[in-house]
Amino acid sequence: MTTTLPVYTKKDFQTDQEVRWCPGCGDYAILSAVQSVFPELGIPKEKFVVVSGIGCSSRFPYYMNTYGFHTIHGRAPAVATGLKLTRPDLEVWVATGDGDALSIGGNHTIHMIRRNVGLKVLLFNNKIYGLTKGQYSPTSEMGKKAKSTPYGSVDRPFNPLSLALGAEATFVARSVDVFQSHLKATLKRAAAHQGTAFIEILQNCNIFNDGAWENLTERDVRDDNTIAIEHGQPLVFGKNKDKGIRMDGLDLEVVALGNGITEKDLIIHDERHLNPAYAFLLSRMDGTPGFPTPLGVLRAIDAPRYEAGMNEQVRLAIQKKGQGDLTKLLRAGDTWEVR
């Protein structure tokens, strides 16, 4: 049997709904990247489902011409899990934000990752609550002055990648709203992953937290402040590609190339390294003075998926016992006849 897939274009994934994000919001760039990538995946359009929680990012499904479900605050991973378990044939993507996924929905996020359910998770991180108009979020830097913290926040932020890796995520990546080609490439990698694919997308909220990522995105500083990691390549960064990362005991160290230090001394990135501790070390470079922020795929390994295991148990039970016989089930155990 051969079925030809319609040739899709970006337009096929756009809806007629008026987009209600603020002008200049980073979400537009993410929407555009996803709408560009979906047609290229070779999947029938009706198989895509976008599930979201609450927040600016969670309006995402309304603008995607696929099946879409805008659920309630924090619960998108759980709704998506129920859908994927019963319908493993579907391509389920979760759109969420730093508050939605890491605060109110933190529990669902870690358990989705732990179970390695085959979902693609786009975590839009703008380090602020946008839809509720400007409170600090669980990724806001300590001391953040926001509506609810006029004296500055006093709690330490989560690093989303560290958190995902702590739950032993099988696919962990990071990209940036304005780095379109990098973002699209990362989305494609996520699409190809079996199991939970977790992508943190650094996104600018130009209303409540403008410039939160500008030290990573501005042309003059970005090459020194970020490192684009690639599997099998040495960890090199800097405007002149003259800096690298190497191991220093149990820690990482930034070194200048030259003076006897060559790429051979540097860490060769291995996204398939089974121990999550390696990728965790990379994730900890964020915010460490002198270290770049890693972008790209930190980790991509194979591991058992919950929906596969669950459906396999059903298949094996039917194979072994035959399709359940309802009459037999109702009459199971001790019965007696009253005449």
């Binding site: 198989k47 489902v49 995607m64 879409g68 129920g82 378990l85 019963t86 039970a317 199971a332 019965t335």
Partner: protein, 618 residues
């Protein structure tokens, strides 16, 4: 049949008997009671049971909070309750005696394990004097038995350690009760062989202990009478014993089969609902998918996801879990997806009495959500009725595209009764049709009869659409904040639930169709109300009983029926929640009979209220 030669004894045939086994929660009282129950069922008795156990897995041994009890009422007549008072009490220690003896009938048989009445045991039970010596038990037929010692003696040749031998003493007590009521032991033999298949020595030990208990009664002259409880005249058919939780599990498997769609259960372990999860997780050959979620909210929301994908989705919980699910139930209402939510009620508020029964979640089920968010609410009346409620709730949910709540409670969940197994032809049809036609598809168009919206599951070509918790525009389902649209949608959702009334049968009162007093109940109070009704009508009272299985919407003719009686009394295990609804909806001057003790009503309590009310209106 395994028989033991017995000495000639006086035999007395009685209609009915109530036995309670009470001991430490480690003494195996639930197993002992279940074995007696199954044997009674096999002999054709009608029966009802009341397992009553502590929330703690092993409260300190021998203490008052650690007492676990199992009561069975078995009869040659119809049985509606586990019995007000007990004929035989087996008390394995002073704590079990202290907490249970008040329910023993005057002159009732009291079997105690004297080996557990040493000073230290009395102290653990906070007894100041030894009840076996202080004449406080003079009104009962007391049989002090060295249960521990005699069990060890019976097992001395098996080479077991003392602890393993002592674990068999409940079967010594069971053997005694089998003798007392002239019951065969082969059913329990068979059960032991199955249970201890890999450890035959333990099966043997328990059999020996049971036989020893049986022989003990036979040999000692203390027991002068043996009782016979003949078989009951049940409706012809094939029967099994069933608990409410088990009946719910079977009902959902049957519903999914009738609807020809997969069953998905999202659930988080909680007493007394967990057994539904345990049971459904065994039925994978029926395509049943059970998901032990990370919390109550995920249990509900995963069910929403499964319903969105086209499954018959259910979630099962108790009151505290219901509270956590409420926001998500609101989502299911807004997106109009079919889900069945089971609340196996227990004592509250908060953690409350996890293993004890209560009916205080009715208003939570009806009104516990933000904004205007009605759902159909059903309540099972008996353990066996839970099966039919699972089918009925699934049918309504799928027909009207709406979440439906089933209320059960701890008493129904764990209590067992003989259940006539239905033939498949007796099960209701549950037609399900996913929307596939593209022509004219609108996510929120409605069936004119049921007001149900189409079920267009992901994967269907051409029907891509978006749903969510934001207010919908009528018909299109687009996000819409317009004032008049909102009011229209609120009214539509309410009208849809109200339309379910077309599927709710009119009530027909049991007893007198009109008269002095109408008892209105719901849920597990069915047994005691029915029993009280029968007893009071036999005395010439003109009273009726309506037992509501549909609590929202209420049956069409209920208001008219309420007016046919001079007085309406509503017995409930809460402070008057159905009472409040009836008074508000029908402006009827009904009165409550309320008990909030974690225990079901006694027949006598309902009868006392009937008599008191009739005296007042005379």
């Amino acid at each position: 049949m395994a028989t033991i030669e017995t000495l000639p004894r006086k035999r007395e045939t009685i209609e009915q008997a109530v036995i309670r086994f009470a001991g430490d929660s480690g003494d195996g009282m639930q197993i002992t009671g279940s074995q007696f129950t199954n044997t009674a069922a096999m002999l054709g008795n009608d029966l009802a049971t009341f397992p009553d156990f502590p929330a703690e897995i092993r409260a300190p041994a021998g203490t008052l909070p650690g007492v676990s009890g199992f009561q069975i009422n078995f009869s040659s007549r119809d049985v509606f309750t586990a019995g007000d008072a007990v004929d035989v009490l087996v008390a394995m220690n002073p704590a079990a005696l202290a907490t249970n003896v008040a329910d023993l009938k005057p002159g009732g048989i009291l079997i105690v394990n004297v080996d557990n009445f040493k000073e230290v045991d009395l102290k653990k039970a906070q007894a100041k004097t030894n009840p076996l010596e202080d004449h406080s038990l003079d009104g009962y037929r007391l049989f002090p038995v060295e249960l521990t010692k005699l069990t060890r003696l019976a097992l001395r040749d098996l080479g077991l350690d003392a602890k393993s031998m002592d674990r068999c003493k409940n079967f010594f007590a069971l053997g005694m009760c089998y003798w007392l009521y002239n019951r065969p032991m082969d059913h329990t033999y068979k059960w032991l062989d199955e249970k201890f298949g890999s450890k035959p020595v333990l099966a043997e030990a328990n059999k020996l202990a049971m036989k020893a208990g049986y022989a003990y009664c036979d040999a000692t002259e203390a027991f002068q009478v043996r009782y016979e409880v003949p078989a009951a005249k049940l409706e012809p058919g094939l029967y099994r014993n069933i608990s409410g939780n088990s009946a719910l599990a079977l009902g959902f498997v049957a519903a999914a089969r009738k609807a020809a769609i997969p069953l998905f259960q999202g659930s988080y372990p909680i007493t007394p609902a967990s057994d539904i999860l345990h049971e459904l997780s065994m039925y994978k050959e029926f395509g049943v998918m059970t998901f032990q979620a990370e919390d109550e909210i995920a249990a509900m929301t995963s069910a929403i996801g499964a319903a969105y994908g086209g499954a018959l989705a259910i979630t099962t919980t108790s009151g505290p879990g219901m509270a956590l699910k409420m926001e998500a139930i609101g989502l299911a209402i807004a997106v109009e997806l079919p889900i069945v939510i089971c609340d196996i009620q227990r004592g509250g508020p908060s953690t409350g009495l996890p293993t004890k029964t209560e009916q205080a979640d009715l208003l939570q089920a009806l009104y516990g959500r933000n904004s205007e968010a009605p759902v159909p609410v059903l309540a099972a009346a008996t353990p066996g009725d839970c099966f039919w409620m699972a089918l009925e709730a699934s049918r309504i949910a799928l027909k009207y595209m709406v979440p439906v709540i089933i209320l059960s409670d701890g008493y129904l969940a764990n209590g067992a009764e003989p259940w006539k197994i239905p033939a498949l032809e007796e099960l209701p049809e549950i037609p399900v049709k996913y929307r596939t036609e593209r022509e004219g598809f609108m996510p929120y168009s409605r069936d004119p009869n049921t007001l149900a919206r189409p079920w267009a599951v992901p994967g269907t070509p051409g029907l891509e659409h978006r749903i969510g918790g934001l207010e919908k525009q009528d018909v299109t389902g687009n996000v819409n904040y317009e004032p008049l649209n909102h009011e229209r949608m609120v009214r539509l959702r309410a009208a849809k639930v109200a339309a379910v009334v077309q599927d709710v049968p009119d009530v027909v009162p049991a007893g007198d169709p009109d008269g002095d007093l109408l008892l209105v109940g719901w849920g597990s109070t069915f047994g005691p109300i029915t029993a009280a009704l029968g007893a009071q009508r036999a005395r010439g009272r003109r009273i009726g009983h309506v037992h509501l299985r549909h609590l929202n919407p209420l049956p069409k003719n209920l208001g008219e029926v309420l007016k046919r009686y001079r007085k309406v009394v509503v017995p409930e295990m809460n402070l008057g929640q159905l009472l409040w609804v009836l008074r508000a909806k029908y402006l009827v001057d009904a009165e409550g009979l309320n008990k909030i003790q974690g225990k079901p009503f006694k027949q006598s309590e309902v009868e006392a209220k009937i008599e008191e009310t009739l005296r007042e209106i005379r």
